[in-house]
């Protein structure tokens, strides 16, 4: 009993450490005061102000566009990579696909910047951000899809061929439906990573294009305004929803299965 009480205290402290700051951001986004100091009264005016801010809306639109496009592309490429890694079980290749997942973001950001500018001589902007996001998302999709395939009985694919399905129809009718939850989870993960990303985007965004995290960063250079709290709250809500959805579709990859 004593042991368990201690554990509970430790756990609560840890969770408090993680979530109290987030809760304060949410709370003050509804606070009718310019200062993040004391609670005055409930308001939604910071949200209204957000919607009237053209820079903010542009940044949100950019973020959504990049997130949708990059996660779609990363999902297609990552799924193919996951299937290939499972089927041919190469030795070195998995590390190469998965490295961007564990690489420090700052390193990836710097190297992508150098690559885009020095090697490709690309004008930085939407396209470079998109390419960077695809790069770090592919690995996640590949991991999830491969994990999904690894839990499957190989014989069912042989059975499909045996029962008259061509390789393509075997993929369409058996493989794809079975890995679909993994693909959806991978897509949602990529989307979350993309919409939240600051570090890599910071390096490859160039001057003209801003995403939501970059916009927030530029706003808090002055002060943490209630408007920042409001946009952070919205971003948090979106991220949490996507993670919850991802966990629902691929429980085996994101949490212990029951």
């Amino acid at each position: 009993m004593k042991h368990s009480a201690w554990l509970w205290t430790a756990a609560l402290a840890a969770y408090a450490f993680l979530y109290v700051p987030l809760a304060i951001v949410v709370l003050f986004s509804f606070n009718d005061s310019e200062l993040n100091a004391s609670w005055v009264r409930f308001t939604t005016r910071w949200y209204a102000k957000l919607l009237g801010d053209p820079d903010m809306l542009q940044a949100a639109a950019n973020s959504l566009l990049i997130a949708i496009a990059s996660s779609t592309i990363a999902t297609i490429l990552g799924t193919m990579a996951g299937i290939a890694l499972h089927r041919w079980r190469p030795r070195l290749l998995p590390f190469l696909v998965l490295t961007p997942v564990s690489m420090p973001e700052i390193l990836l950001g710097v190297s992508l910047l150098l690559f885009f500018r020095q090697v490709l001589d690309l004008t930085l902007g939407l396209f470079s951000i998109l390419a960077a996001h695809v790069t770090f998302s592919i690995g996640f999709v590949a991991i999830i899809v491969r994990a999904r395939l690894a839990g499957m009985d190989e014989e069912i694919f042989a059975a499909a061929r045996d029962l008259g399905a061509t390789p393509w129809r075997t993929f369409r009718r058996v493989t794809l439906p079975l890995i679909l939850p993994g693909i959806v989870a991978g897509f949602l993960m990529s989307f979350t990573l993309s919409i939240d990303d600051f570090v890599i985007t910071f390096f490859v965004a160039g001057v003209g294009v801003t995403t939501l995290p970059l916009q927030i960063y530029s706003m808090i250079k002055v002060a943490v305004t209630p408007e920042v709290n409001a946009v952070s709250t919205l971003l948090m809500a979106l991220t949490l929803t996507l993670i919850a959805l991802a966990a629902r579709f691929a429980p085996d990859t994101l949490r212990r299965s029951p």
Partner: protein, 361 residues
């Protein structure tokens, strides 16, 4: 013309020869079994028939046409896999409909045939269930229905009863025989369980180390095995080593060290001086107290070393006076006590002069 002909097929994996010069002809309507220990090449042959593997040498013909180069999906051959390999995302009906859909049957046709197949395996009420909700026996039946539904020329069964418990396995054996008789489709069955093979098959090819040791109907394999491997692999066997001292057309005389002269039947011409073993089934041996001997031609004495009471029969392991341990089987049809000889009892072991078979290989 045979339905399936395997002509001189060899398949190697690196240095290992999985199949070595096998030739077989399987007739239409047959329940044909490939029997052998694991690694004997039986599954490799099955995979080559299904199209998942190809021979290094030799050819396979189905209805006289060579199978080389034809992918699995284009062969009129279906497989019942060892672990059933049901599609987990499809219902029972969806699983059974799969081959029909792949073959391009019309919607109504698919529904009707799926219904018939469900009926065939007594799963009419399980059409909407998913595989994970089925018992082992039910999964087995779905796999059979799925394999049979669009009437393949051949149904391959890869140890399909291996995953079932003993009682259920026995029942599924009966169902398999009935099913094969009902649909008339040729079955090629792969197993390492000799009793299963004997119970189910019209013909059995006994395989060992990539070769067919003997191919015949179960009764012949059991009563006149060609060599020690077949004799030992099918059923229980006692091998009494000896040398032939006299041979006529029907009878042999051999001398076993420490036992003396034994009379045995001659199934094939054997020259005196040939060394080999007399193979005797446990049920050919009569075990009795020394004073209750029946007066059969071959008789020796020994001591009961061990016995296994199996209910209907008791298997005695008797150490003969020359040290040889042999197995004798006694039925427990008598009333009262089910077994009659205790460990350490002196007993007489006797058998008829025409029992067993002399094996020189």
């Amino acid at each position: 013309m045979a339905l399936l002909e395997i002509r001189n097929v060899t398949r190697r994996f690196g240095d290992l020869s999985a199949v070595l010069g096998v030739s077989l002809a399987i007739e239409a309507g047959e329940f044909f079994t490939l029997l052998g220990p694991s690694g004997c090449g039986k599954t490799t042959i099955l995979r080559m028939i299904a199209g998942f593997d190809a021979p290094d040498e030799g050819e396979l013909f189905l209805d006289g046409r060579p199978l080389a180069g034809i992918p699995p999906e284009q062969r009129p051959v279906h497989t019942v896999f060892q672990n059933y390999a049901l599609f987990p995302h499809l219902t029972v009906a969806g699983n059974i409909a799969f081959p029909l859909e792949m073959a391009g049957f019309a919607r109504d046709d698919i529904r009707r045939r799926t219904g018939e197949a469900l009926e065939l395996v007594h799963l009419e009420d399980k059409g909407g269930a998913y595989p994970h909700a089925l018992s082992g026996g039910q999964k087995q039946r779905v796999a059979l229905a799925r394999g049979l539904v669009n009437k393949p020329r051949l149904l391959l069964l890869d140890e399909p009863l291996g995953a079932l418990d003993a009682k259920l396995r026995e029942r599924m054996q009966g169902e398999l025989i009935a099913l094969q008789r009902e649909v008339g489709i040729t079955f090629v069955f792969v197993t390492h369980a000799q009793q299963e093979a004997l119970a189910l098959s019209h013909r059995i090819a006994v395989m060992n180390a990539g070769r067919v040791e003997q191919l015949d109907v179960p009764e012949v394999l059991y009563s006149t095995p060609k060599n020690r491997f077949v004799a030992d692999f099918i059923g229980s066997i006692n091998l009494i080593e000896g040398e032939v001292t006299a041979a006529s057309r029907h009878e042999l005389q051999l001398v076993a060290p420490g036992l003396g002269t034994i009379a045995a039947p001659a199934h094939a011409p054997v020259a005196p001086g040939t060394r080999g073993a007399l193979a005797l089934r446990p049920e050919h041996l009569r075990i009795a107290a020394p004073e209750a001997r029946a007066g059969l031609k071959n008789h020796f004495t020994g001591t009961v070393a061990e016995y296994l009471f199996l209910g209907d029969v008791t298997v005695y392991k008797v150490r003969l006076d020359n040290g040889l341990l042999i197995e004798a089987l006694a039925t427990n049809a008598g009333s009262g006590k089910a077994y009659f000889h205790e460990i350490g009892d002196r007993v007489s072991i006797e058998w008829r002069h025409d029992a067993g078979i002399f094996l020189d290989r």
